[in-house]
Amino acid sequence: MFVHYFDLALRSLRRNKVLTALMVLAIAVGIGASMTMLTVMHVLSGDPLPGRSGQLYHPQVNPTLPPRFQSGPISAMDYRSATDLWGAHRAERQALIANGSVRVNLPESGQPPLARQLLLTTSEFFPMFDVPFRYGGGWSASDETSHARVAVISAELNQRLFGGADSVGRSLRLNGSEVRIAGVLEHWRPAPRFYDVWSGRYLKGRTSSLYQAAEDVYLPIFTGLDMFAPMELPVHFCWADGTKITSMQSAPCSWISLWVQLSGTEAVRDYQRFLDGYVQQQKQAGRYQGEQTWLPDLMQWVEWNHVVPGNVRMQAWMAVAFLLICLINTMCLLLSKFLRRSGEIGVRRAMGASRRTVFAQCLVEAGVIGLAGGIVGWLLTLLGLWLVRRQPEAYADLAHLDLPMLVGTFVLAVVASLLAGVLPALRASRVPIGLQIKTL
């Protein structure tokens, strides 16, 4: 029966090729535009660490002086607060994070140095964020306390400097100091760079830089502080300008993020209590004025920082509105088409077709249009994503159609065209029998 309806639909569609093409085109353009933007949105707003993100938390405090600067907890921590909380080891795992840039070359190579991004962190960063290693591994906790000159580099930098060979144990010059390579990462592309997004809140929607590839060099934070002059690292903000800053360790500036891994609500509650206790203690000691704390999990933190670029969000909305207009357009055309065939429908009804049958036949026809629109729309989506990949945006390389979105394209096309077909099909199935017969 379905095959028969399908055949009927094809015949009907062939009868008026221009109108059919118009409807298929309308759906295809709508699907193409909306799926391109929704795919970009899907890629950029997805969970960067599925399965683990629910256990990762970003504790925040407000140590600022004076309080006119900030009323709530601030996005990053000063050195003292960060290391106090980190050193207490009250979570399953904890890591400190600060970023910077560094000039990298090989000792005695004579080659000009490469400017690369640097992440200063602690040893549990790698297991906590599921960072994959190709060769070697992270540094140990004892490397950290002894300020050992060790580093981890990315697969890309390893490719560039060592042609992809196992470089563990080799030396690297960072800003002129030598470090030993402890590990080389596999290709790792967190999107966004979720552990370092606090700047998102200040970028006013221009957040595509948060989607650039992960850093190329990872150093123990204490080693890094030996190697960098004060204020060479990017700072979130300082609340005592004009005072003498002799070291990053004592600077009245927030520049370090703390991440902790906590499993279970009990652990989260305990940690929150610990955090509040720490802040109270610091306030009594006169170091803090504010007492606010916040313990968002990874997705909350990413959301709070408005990480998805404003343009991408607006484009996604526009794409949905665009699809809606395409659907209304198709609805109009289907309605005209079905009602024009009132005579034929009348004959079918007179020969015993029930309203339900006519309705089903019309809907099958709409579905066929949707399927055709889906195929063309899928091609347009591929074209659209190709155009997005050619944009000079940090997230450009991420714009690929994954399986869920591919299936989504066809589901959306068919469902949308069926929805567009319901009203016209209902009207067609209500065509009175007798009247139409008389006109023949």
Binding site: L19, L22, L25, A26, V29, A33, P66, R68, R103, P113, A115, L174, N175, G176, S177, K204, G205, R206, S208, D226, M227, F228, A229, P230, M231, E232, C238, A240, D241, G242, T243, K244, I245, T246, G310, N311, M314, Q315, M318, A321, F322, L324, I325, C326, I328, N329, M331, C332, L333, L335, S336, K337, R340, Q391, P392, L423, R427, L435, K438, T439
Partner: protein
């Protein structure tokens, strides 16, 4: 009731759908055009400096870790840059308009009074000759004197008081001392607001390094310093020499000190980079608007063609009873105008709603109601253009003679018959689409007429 409206009542669903499509298109197109206008006008904000004559350089030393006593090359660098052919003057600055990185601070109206301050004022630090090099125009007061430049850095390793003189922008002066002459006024800097600075000049305009809601567009001040830590060298260059100078700079500076990286940029490229996202957005909006209009036009064409086909019989009758081609053309044009207008009324309301929503979520400005007119005009034109083809085809339908089906049609479904009624109204009672017999009476009458 006017026959066109009466006729449209037969196609309530279709008409409603078309009007809805027009309304949605209208709402989106109006807002999209407004956004395009908003962004392009933002992109045309004057920077207050000589955009087309600037090249800037950033350098970084290589061996910071090993060699903390980096030689201070800045005087040698400046001299080397000044000696380059095509370079008119060189200065150091911590930042440039639209170069993203900025410093900002609070300006205290009374010493140490935290409650009386203008917060988030952008700080430009410039070495001697910065105003001349950048081409910043003063509307009042004077440029800094050479001896007024001090060795100051807000986050420096050494504690040095800030300069005692300052040049403010007009908009900072207006917010700091509304309606007063800013020249000679004193305000206080530093986190405690204890360091006085006196205004010696007012700059016409100096755009912020980054335009945002905290620092606004050009609320800023210039402080005279001798050297700028981590700053940029800015070169005033004859426009046609910019490329050559940019290419030559790395070698010139590496002759002074080879152990560093040098990045030179043409300033207009930096401005283009800053607005990259806005430009991409404008193009996207224009493409979407174009696609939407094309789609809506196609919809109108498709539907009008169908109506023309469906009504060709009635058109023939109308022609037979005396309607001219022009009447038929006008009929379809008026019909389109009516539907589109209905859509525009609905769409204008939706456009205002959409604008309010965008204002909440994207810090967009309120759309002046005059913009609604732009959307309306675009859609009216679009509707008329789209209907022209089908309407001309309708007008080309020849007058009808001897139509067999007209004899016993019990119900007049054709909307154009309504107009036929209008013609015959004085003679016959009836209403288009009514099931009462007068309709068939008319049709029989018409049939009779045709038999003659």
């Amino acid at each position: 009731m006017h026959p066109i409206i009466a006729a449209l009542k037969h196609h309530k669903t279709t008409v409603a759908l078309v009007a809805l499509e027009i309304a949605l298109t209208c709402a989106i197109v109006t807002n999209a055009l407004f956004l395009v206008g908003d962004r392009t006008s933002a992109m045309r904000l004057p920077t207050g400096v000589a955009d087309n004559e600037l090249v800037w350089v950033q350098t970084t030393g290589l061996d910071i870790g090993d060699n903390e006593q980096r030689p201070d090359n800045r005087d040698a660098d400046l001299a080397a840059l000044r000696a380059m052919p095509g370079v008119q003057s060189v200065a150091m600055s911590n930042s440039l308009p639209l170069s993203s990185g900025y410093m900002s601070t609070g300006a205290f109206r009374r010493s140490g009074d935290e409650k009386d301050l203008l917060d988030n004022v952008v700080e430009y630090l410039g070495s001697s000759g910065m105003l001349k090099t950048l081409g910043i125009k003063l509307v009042a007061g004077r440029d800094f004197l050479p001896q007024e430049h001090v060795d100051y850095s807000p986050f420096g390793l050494k504690e040095i008081p800030p300069p005692t003189v300052v040049i403010v922008t007009q908009s900072m002066a207006a917010q700091m001392w509304p309606g007063e002459n800013p020249l000679g006024k004193t305000f206080w800097l530093d986190h405690e607001g204890k360091k006085p600075v006196q205004v010696v000049g007012v700059a016409e305009r100096l755009l912020n390094p980054s335009i945002n809601k905290y620092q606004g567009v050009d609320r800023g001040m210039i402080l005279p310093v001798t050297k700028v830590n981590g700053g940029k060298y800015v070169l005033r260059v004859r426009p046609e020499m910019r490329d050559a100078v940019k290419l030559a700079i790395p070698d010139v500076l590496k002759r002074v000190d080879p152990l560093r990286m040098v990045e030179a940029h043409i300033y207009t490229d930096s401005i283009a980079d800053y607005y990259h996202g806005d430009r991409a957005m404008v193009w996207l909006l224009l493409v979407v608007t174009g696609c939407l209009l094309a789609l809506t036009a196609l919809g109108v064409v498709g539907l009008s063609s169908f109506w023309v086909q469906q009504r060709s019989r009635s058109i023939g009758i109308r022609r037979a009873i005396g309607a001219t081609r022009r009447d038929i053309l006008r009929y379809f044009q008026w019909e389109n105008l009516l539907i589109v207008s209905a859509g525009i009324v609905l769409g204008s309301l939706a456009a205002v709603g959409l604008n309010l929503w965008l204002m909440q979520h994207y810090e967009l400005a309120r759309m002046p109601l005059a913009w609604l007119a732009s959307g309306a005009v675009v859609l009216w034109l679009l509707g008329q253009l789209a209907v022209l083809g089908p309407a001309m085809r309708a007008a080309a339908v020849p007058p009808r003679r001897g139509d067999p089906i007209m004899n016993n049609h019990p119900r007049c479904r054709s909307p154009l018959a309504g107009d036929a009624f209008a013609v015959f109204n004085s003679r016959m009672a009836g209403h288009p689409g009514s099931k009462a017999s007068p309709a068939s009476g008319l049709l029989q009458g018409v049939g009779g007429f045709e038999k003659e």
